[in-house]
Subunit: 251 residues, 8 copies
């Protein structure tokens, strides 16, 4: 029931066209959304012109293309596809205006928007093998319109590399720290920065990294304040949240 339907029902009651018991029955059974919670439905929808997201994992190339086409044809300027395989990209390229970012496994249908935020997200990562997850975060935030600075290969075992970017870190509005293995990057950055740090453990590693568990626990136990954690390899979630925070106070 949309607002106009509710209005109509009330008008009909006022006009005596609908008796009170029928109205009551109708209102009691009406699904939540119809009472004006439509924004619940679309609370994940993003301001005009921004990206609608397709989670590519476990979808066939055909399914991805079909959904992307529908969104794109419907006027969506930027459609973000995450966890898109190279095969899916290959298949989609002929059918859609797709830009595919190999590192990050991200596809963008339509135009990657110009950054429309004044403030900046820093995406930092420890080793080169953490870069795919870092790129998933960075490209997600960019597809949503945020300005992003990448600081890659700034792992804690070579501290000076990280410290040489101290200014970027201190000027960020929010930081995404991506690291596998011992996951110490989040703590060190959390100690340097003054802003929220979103830590993303990665499954990079071997042996006692146990598929990212080591980095995950490490990050959850961070002594630095302002650090919170998302799921292992969840670059998208971090990029999405980072954009959400980055937009606060912008108009």
């Amino acid at each position: 029931m949309e607002q106009k339907d509710l209005k109509k029902l009330l008008k009909d009651v006022a006009a005596g066209k609908v008796d009170i018991d029928s109205a009551m029955l109708k209102l009691r059974l009406e699904p939540f959304e119809d009472l004006g919670f439509a924004k619940v439905d679309y609370h994940r929808g993003i301001r005009q012109g921004a990206a609608e997201v397709i989670y590519g994992a476990g979808k066939t190339p055909e399914q991805i293309v079909k959904i992307a086409e529908k969104l794109h044809d419907g006027g969506q300027k930027t459609v973000l596809i995450t966890r898109m395989s190279t095969q899916a990209a290959q298949y989609a390229k002929d059918k859609l205006p797709l830009t595919y970012y190999d590192m990050g496994s991200i596809g963008i249908v339509g135009d990657m928007p110009e950054p429309d935020t004044k403030s900046t997200i820093v995406v930092a990562s420890g080793g080169t093998s953490d870069m795919p997850v870092a790129e998933e975060a960075a490209l997600t935030a960019e597809a949503l319109g945020s300005r992003v600075t990448r600081l890659y290969d700034v792992g804690v075992s070579g501290l000076h590399r990280l410290l040489s970017h101290a200014e970027d870190i201190m000027n960020a509005k929010v930081i995404v720290a991506v690291a596998g293995m011992e996951g110490a990057l989040a703590s060190v950055i959390g100690g340097l920065a003054d802003c929220p740090v979103i830590a993303v453990p990665t499954s990079v590693g071997y042996g006692a990294s146990f598929g990212g568990l080591s980095a995950l626990l490490s990050m959850l136990n961070s002594c630095a304040s302002g650090v919170s954690v998302v799921n292992i390899d969840n670059g998208f979630g971090a990029g999405y949240l980072a954009n959400m925070i980055n937009r606060i106070g912008e108009q």
Copy 2:
């Protein structure tokens, strides 16, 4: 080396009082902070008049009082003491202007500040037994100056209680969702809200809750976007981060 020392050294060099090699040696060995990264040291310090934090766990009542006295005498208007035992509070009461919050195990030396933010943090919790952690989060944020709305006992198995607060949830700038057992609260709130949700798993439960592991994993796996997680029972961390986000865009 504080800024004035650095200035003096450079003046001495300019004046020829200190030769260049001595200056170089001095500068190279100088600890980082002395070169102006003092804000690194105090990056956790909070804007004038706000709370300085003492982590009370593992400290004797005497130690807590000594540190709190020093901070309070040094002009700190609000000193926040977390994980403060009732014994420590008992001991401190005679010696300090302490307000002790039993639920939350928080002590405030000096004045709890008036909220100075226009926007609001919502702290929601599932069951009554999650309330101590929720209070730790709420009081931390309040001690740092944020405006806080508490929504307690809004667990997902009684959905209507949560839904009756839908407006609070939709108007929050940031939400702290505290829950033990199955930890589903974060996902449900994450689905309703449009703002960052900081999930705090609690160790409340028995059996297969495994000391909060169940809630922790549940929250990390949340399908709702915008959710990130802190350590089990880390109400302070969540309250601190919530205040950090709540202040963005306020002046």
Copy 3:
């Protein structure tokens, strides 16, 4: 908003006393429950005269007594208190018509109802040390009005004891199988019975029982059909669900 309030509002609209926009606002903000989902609120409430439940763990004796008094004074014939300590029982005895079941840590305020079901729940347990959890299940089901048969000390390492009760097992409408250590009881009973089996792992054991994990995993992996599992030591949950199933088809 109760039904009569909704009715009144609609009448006011019909009578022109309330304009449509005010009515719309009111309806949109109205908490869910008020729109007729009251049964959501009370879906856990049980048919007239049956037990209302108080979870005693983590509540002070005073709190327990206060809640129990309110329910009892409000006309509740049977108030079930689970995980009630002997101290709480001691304290409550003077103030309330309490029957305390040591084994099972269950308190009943008011009258334990006569069984009003024709069909029977079998509660079976492996060893004597599993009995407290088994009793929590059995007494819960009885407090809710179900007929219960107890088969205790029928562990799988003495199979003939279990088999000598084969008729009880085959005549049950639903069975609660309580076991710690290797938790094999659920599978063996599941193989003998034709009805739903609710398996309750217990934390009884030592070493590699890991606080009930061994029994839990064992029960989840049961090869027997019709078996489902509740949390470790969750006798209440099993008894509650057993009563729910036991009542199906009864009128």
Copy 4:
């Protein structure tokens, strides 16, 4: 020893054809089943005309076909094959009257029976990727003759979708709640419903879902009463148990 054999033995004893010691020996050594516990053997067999089940995983297409043929030729109207690969289905199609349900990996040899229950099972699932497990549950219950309502894609992060089906949920006799990741669906449905809820965690997810562990723990810790849990991805077990409960009180 079937009943008629036992009868014959006793007749022979009565007639003096078999001496008492020989009869005793025979009876003592006779396997359990032969003494009339045939229903033990066939307790999993389902009332006349219903499905006999073949667990397809780890069986070759040839083995599956051979067993299915034997059952079908033996008069079985519906033979249910679970975890059947597309290859096995391909192979079986020429040799048997097979209907293959891709989503769910279920094969039905013979006729899918018309539902013969008045009451209904609701099978609800969180995300599209949980659908294969949900279908395994739904088709199993249907093959056993139950009436099933599917509510798919009603995950807790989009609550209004679930709430718009509140009536289905409240009218169900038993509900199967299938969810991976954070597994919160079981708790939310358990809070809305009045009937037994069988929770099925799925291995869908990545990172800290740890192959379904997160959803499993979440469901075991559900605060909602009436919820019990089966093994990860065990759609068959849930469908089987749901049918068992759904048939109670039907005649």
Copy 5:
């Protein structure tokens, strides 16, 4: 139904006193044991004069004394009580002819039997803190009549101590190897010995010993052939099994 009852029933059938259908009904419902599986019941009973076992953990001193008295008065020469607390022993001493073995927490009511086996069990343990579990094993085997040689403090980090007992090891019929921490003793002994080795991990240790998990896994992974493992701290189980093997081939 004991054998004589079965005989009587068959005689009655032969005599025409009982009709065949009544006999059939009786036989079908008869519990298993009554059909001659009585030895199932007592399969754990041990040859005449040996120990009957009481598991003392979780029993009150009163309960222990009551059971022990009944067994002892019933003619049991040796009653073995495991996991008996010093308090229980204190209480029992006045009432029963009890010998209490502090190290091992074992009580013997009546006489510790003279060893009646020619072959020998070796019980070896790593450190002094593993001795309680080792003694539980050794005393259990002795109470059951086996000859036992103790080799304590022969941990693998002081190999020469173990090697100086090589002859004992090579002459044993079965060996119980008790060790906490890294649990390597079982492998080293398994490599030296030619006979079955029963490994008992202990919960002795700290940190990454995780309550005996480290020793347990280590022993399960032993490269030495002939090694099998019992539960953490299960000295009784190892001593019981060792006695069982030690008696093979003795008459």
Copy 6:
């Protein structure tokens, strides 16, 4: 240093050909084995004519054939190859008198010996998918000369099948119980039998079987006495130990 070398050295000392200090040096440095512990080296060698074992996993077909040839040419009548792939068997067939047992992945080069034990090992397994591990155990024991009785598909959820073999179980000298999933078979058999039971958890299962962990824990926690456990899927270890016990008391 073999015994004859030691004898020669001592003779040389006696004859004055070697001075005492040189002898001392030699003796101090002599590796252990040379002092007569040769049997340490060969303690795993088995009595004349029996099998020498090759662990096939991780060896190339060429390596396996080379070792097997050497043993066979050296007079070994039976060479047992465990975890042999079908490819390795294919490759070896032309070059060696190999019998390959598909189920069990066992190759026998030379003759499978006639059983030379009077007593019998029972190898029991729960489901058909546990059969490969059960066969590994059975064939290992047979290759070592033991008499073996197989009881397959006697899982606890169909108890009558197991009970119909009660006599085999009661007559065994040692039993190997192989089971995946809930691993309850070991406990049930342990409760029926009077002899040592070697439990082998298998990695068969899915979901919360966690690669055999569930069965492993279940078996370690068995309430039945006389049960010990080997590593997951370690059929060889169980068969080897079973043969060791089976031979005790035989001459």
Copy 7:
């Protein structure tokens, strides 16, 4: 058999006083140590005047005093007692020349030796609550004669504090890095230092630190080269190993 005994035996053989076969028997049975591996026995003994170690945990005050007296009376100048409770220290103080180090739970009987190494061990720790473990390491190394520099409270979330000690770190011969929670200290120090780093995870923390598991995994996964790890809270092991390395190349 000590060296002089061996010499005597050989002399007797040379002199014909002992025949060769008797000598052979004697030599074959002689425990390993007696053949000159005495250093095996005492390989943990430390050069003249250094500490002999008593592990105090699980020993009564009386036992500790007795062993310490024996060592001290036997000429040991320094006796190191680890994990000594304050009660044990209280009890021992009257009977022995004991210095007790509360922080570190270390007792020294006799004199703490002057450092006799030129090179230095750095013991660094993250938070104040890690100090007991750090002190255990530092005092152990000092009791063994090493020179130790303590860098406490240099956690990674306040990087400048650590960096201000960069020179100490770069001049160390070996570093012990003690940290709980996220355990990142080892990696950061490992990245700064050029020498072996021994990482000690501590059980300090709460929630997802899981008793030190988080720090342990983090340290094992360190990206920095030269880092190795000891057990959780094993300050003694780290101090012992650090002293071992620190002495290399000193004379």
Copy 8:
């Protein structure tokens, strides 16, 4: 900022060319390394002529070759490539003077250096399947210039093989002990040796080895002093650390 730049800046200040505030700003923002911590950057660089390391895992053959060429052309005499696949080696062979060590997956571009240490590293391993990790350690140490003795196939279940190498063990300056399964080797060697022992757990094994977890825990719990542990399968880390220790005291 290199040293000459710093010098120039100070000269400019001295000469009045740069004002003091500009100099201060420049110094405060200057990255750490530029202030003379260049050795931080190259602390992993190894003395002239030694190996620079490329971690081959996750790099394409092309990437490996490109980096190796750059290092080799830049004058690096020995370039060590770890975790190099055979395909990468195949590809690289034509383009570079590569020696590939199959066992160990190590490539050496240029010359394997002659050992330039007097002291020796012993690399010991348990089973043949641990050899790849052992070789990774041994070749790494050799590529860095250390002298290495290999003791392979000296597992603890055949103790005499290990003991026959007792002299090597006692003469080593540092030992790398590589073992999977139960990981007991480190403890046994730690008990025999007087020098640091670096334990490397391997992922070799099956079932309850849980990918190396069993060996890892076992090694962390070693009772022998002087033992520390690196990550599962981390042969490189162990070889690197062993070389570091082996060089102490050498000139």
